[in-house]
């Protein structure tokens, strides 16, 4: 049985061996092609590195090659007969927090790398916290560079214990630990012969089998209307279909639904993917629904169930990550984009900023600049239909767009 897609994020800096780990996954799963290998061997020789430097595979842009750092999220792909993988490869330095937030927003799983010699560092806390904040439910802590600590079980256990006592403060239900050497390949794809004291799966084996389908919200029916399809052709003159991506719950033909914000009730008369009719729709399918009644419904509205409705609110309690190089100016009227809806919004209050290395609240300096994470209160010009982010990532998230530059300046998650 094919397992479908797994989207995961790797955060870390060059020193952690993150790029080497990704290079190793691609190389050992035979995803690297001959011409790519030739190209990096040539580049490694020019730089005087011994052998093929697998980290060169992942540091794509010229600025990165010149400076030797990763400055943006890069996406990598590989597949095994069991699963297809999308890696969001994010830089780990604190000045790239926004990039990690971006990569984490679509990830099901996070890989946290710890250098076995150094143990937990500030950035271990930071990466773990961001994964938690962005609602990632599965984490793999790879204790890397085991070759440099003589494959020592005691050292590994010490790091595991320290991490466990730290992570008890985070809401991440599934945390797994694996001792590896990305450089030498131990426990990445192939089982290590030098750590027989470890009897868990290799990293790839775990990635192939981790169950993430259950993370989707199948309880709360949410269908944000994305686009209205009206063919205007002779054959389908009266057709009126509502296109969108299911954000939660399972919709079935015949279901009674309520359109929000109008509150009008109707029934689902058909569901289709392309020209193929289906009986039901669930996340993250893109479908077209037709309804029993000709009601007023357009982009930005939502179909839900009568007895299970999202919060309709103009006041949001949110955690935001500031993405823009320009600091937040108090009183700016942003455009808030939430599902397929847009609303004018102002940040009414900064409650606190977070020191994301220590998780301490900062209450005496409330200036918001790039990479800052803060708890804020937002007021929107019209009610929006939200769920708690921890219950539904699609209806609990938003971005803020600057009305002047049109740039995306902040990303937010809503707590209800």
């Amino acid at each position: 049985m094919e397992q479908g897609l797994l989207r995961f994020i790797t955060a870390g800096s060059v020193d952690d061996g993150k790029s080497t780990l990704i290079g190793r996954l691609l190389y050992d799963s035979k995803t690297i092609f001959e011409d790519q290998l030739e190209s990096i061997e040539q580049a490694s020789t020019q730089r005087g590195t011994d052998g093929a430097d697998l980290s060169l595979l992942t540091d794509g842009l010229r600025a990165e090659r010149e400076q030797g750092i990763t400055i943006d999220v890069a996406y990598r792909y590989f597949a095994t007969p069991k699963r297809k993988f999308i890696i969001a490869d994010a830089p780990g330095h604190i000045q790239y927090t926004r990039n990690m937030v971006t990569g984490a927003s679509t990830a099901d799983l996070a890989i946290i790398l710890i250098d076995a010699r150094a143990g937990l560092l500030e950035q271990t806390h930071r990466h773990s916290f961001i994964s938690h904040l962005l609602g990632i439910k599965h984490m793999v802590v790879c204790v890397n560079k085991m070759d440099l600590v003589e494959w020592d079980e005691g050292r590994y256990n010490e790091i595991v214990d320290t991490y466990r006592s730290f992570s008890s403060r985070l809401d991440i239900p599934d945390i797994r630990f694996i001792p590896i050497s990305a450089l030498q390949g131990d426990n990445v794809v192939d089982r290590s012969e030098r750590m027989d004291w470890y009897d868990g799966p290799t990293l790839l084996n775990h990635l192939e089998h981790v169950h993430v389908a259950a993370d989707r919200n199948l309880q709360d029916c949410r269908f944000p209307v994305q686009y209205v399809i009206r063919p205007q052709t002779d054959a389908d003159r009266d057709f009126r279909g509502y296109a969108g991506r299911v954000a939660g719950g399972v919709f079935k033909v015949g279901d009674e639904v309520v359109a929000l914000p109008s509150g009008l009730s109707t029934t689902v008369t058909s569901i289709a993917i392309g020209d193929k009719k289906v009986d039901m729709a669930f996340p993250p399918q893109s479908v077209v629904m037709t309804l029993g009644d000709d009601i007023d419904l357009s982009r930005g509205d939502m179909l839900v169930r009568e007895n299970n409705q999202p919060n309709s609110s103009q006041d949001l309690d949110a955690r935001i990550c500031w993405l823009s190089e320009q600091p937040m100016r108090p009183g700016t009227r942003f455009e808030l984009h939430h599902t397929s809806r847009e609303a004018k919004a102002v940040v009414k209050e900064v409650v606190y900023k977070l020191d994301i290395n220590t998780l301490h609240r900062i209450e005496d300096d409330l200036e918001i600049g790039m990479n800052d994470i803060a708890r804020v209160r937002i007021r929107t010009a019209a009610p929006i239909l939200v769920d708690d982010y921890r219950r539904n990532r699609a209806t609990g998230s938003f971005i803020l767009v600057d009305p002047g530059t049109r740039l995306t300046v902040a990303a937010g998650v809503i707590y209800t």
Partner: protein, 301 residues
């Protein structure tokens, strides 16, 4: 009852359909960049599924180098007729004739580079604010950081160091007048995904993708189709080989591979076992380590 599983192709399709609908909803004058290659054919197929039973609410735009495989042109015209969509052709030859671009000379001359001004010219002329293309992140390292909605300034330039953050599936298509977006619904697909999807959906593709006998020229480790547009070096000779194409670009630069894969199943077997990336056959990428990044900054696809 099923446990609501989706195969990875189902998930990629759902994402692609979602992106196409965002384009139609957010932009005034969107278009699909159609090359006749398998990737733009897949984008068009996603658009068909995204808007069914309505017609695709945007035109297909073909940037015509004049050096085309005749099979591609026939395929394009048949598809346009079947879909009932508008076709807009941006002609490289017209720009050459008007003296707006200069053609390269010599044995490796190609019109690949002057496709870019032709594309920009077409975008400006028709005031397109979003152009959907079939590029994929796995094709080339400069593309690994590409967004779904990729912003271009009013000179059509891409600034890789200053891209808009893209979170969840909230795509921000807001822009100033004169700016536009390139949109890549297949970003998360690999070459193998494309082929498996073509097989699953039974999508028609040009015959050039299947193994056939053709007159070719070997040059610098590549196999190029012989045509009136290819300048032969003195020591080069034309030979007949059983080949197929892994990508379809301009006739003068698209490398063929020796193959007997004459069905989709055989092609998939071949792609799965391949040890060279598909762009490895393209002369345009070989010019330097950053060849793709440089062309993208200028406004290439």
């Amino acid at each position: 009852m099923s446990d609501y599983n989706m195969s990875h192709l189902d998930e990629l399709e759902a994402e692609g359909i979602y992106v196409m609908r965002e384009v139609a909803a957010q932009f005034e004058r969107p278009a699909i960049l159609f090359s006749g290659g398998k990737d733009s054919i897949c984008v068009t197929h996603l658009a068909r599924k995204a808007f069914a039973p309505a017609r695709i609410p945007m035109p297909l735009v073909h940037i015509d180098t004049g050096h085309n495989f005749p099979e591609t042109m026939q395929f394009r015209d048949d598809l346009v007729a079947e879909l009932g969509v508008q076709l807009i052709v941006g002609s490289v030859q017209e720009l050459i004739d008007r003296g707006e671009v200069t053609e390269e000379k010599g044995f490796n001359a190609s019109r690949n580079r002057i496709q870019t001004p032709t594309l920009i010219n077409t975008i400006e002329q028709h005031q397109f604010d979003a152009c959907c293309g079939g590029a994929r992140r796995d094709e080339e390292k400069a593309r690994a950081k590409e967004r779904f909605f990729s912003h271009r300034d009013d000179f059509s330039q891409w600034d890789p160091k200053n891209q808009r953050p893209e979170l969840w599936d909230l795509y921000n298509g807001k822009h100033q007048p004169g700016e536009h977006f390139r949109v890549f619904p297949l970003n998360n697909w690999t070459e193998l995904d494309i082929w498996n999807y073509i097989l699953r959906e039974n999508i028609a593709i040009p015959s050039l993708y299947f193994a056939h006998e053709r007159e070719v020229v070997r040059r610098d480790g590549q196999i190029l189709a012989h045509s009136e547009y290819l300048n032969l070096r003195p020591d080069e000779k034309v030979e007949k080989l059983q080949v197929r194409f892994r990508t379809l670009g301009d006739l003068t630069i698209t490398g063929a591979v020796e193959s007997d894969a004459d069905t989709l199943e055989k092609i998939i077997g071949e792609v799965a076992a391949a040890r060279k990336t598909e762009r490895g056959g393209r002369m345009d990428d070989k010019r330097s380590q950053s060849a793709m990044e440089d062309r993208k900054k200028e406004g290439y696809f």
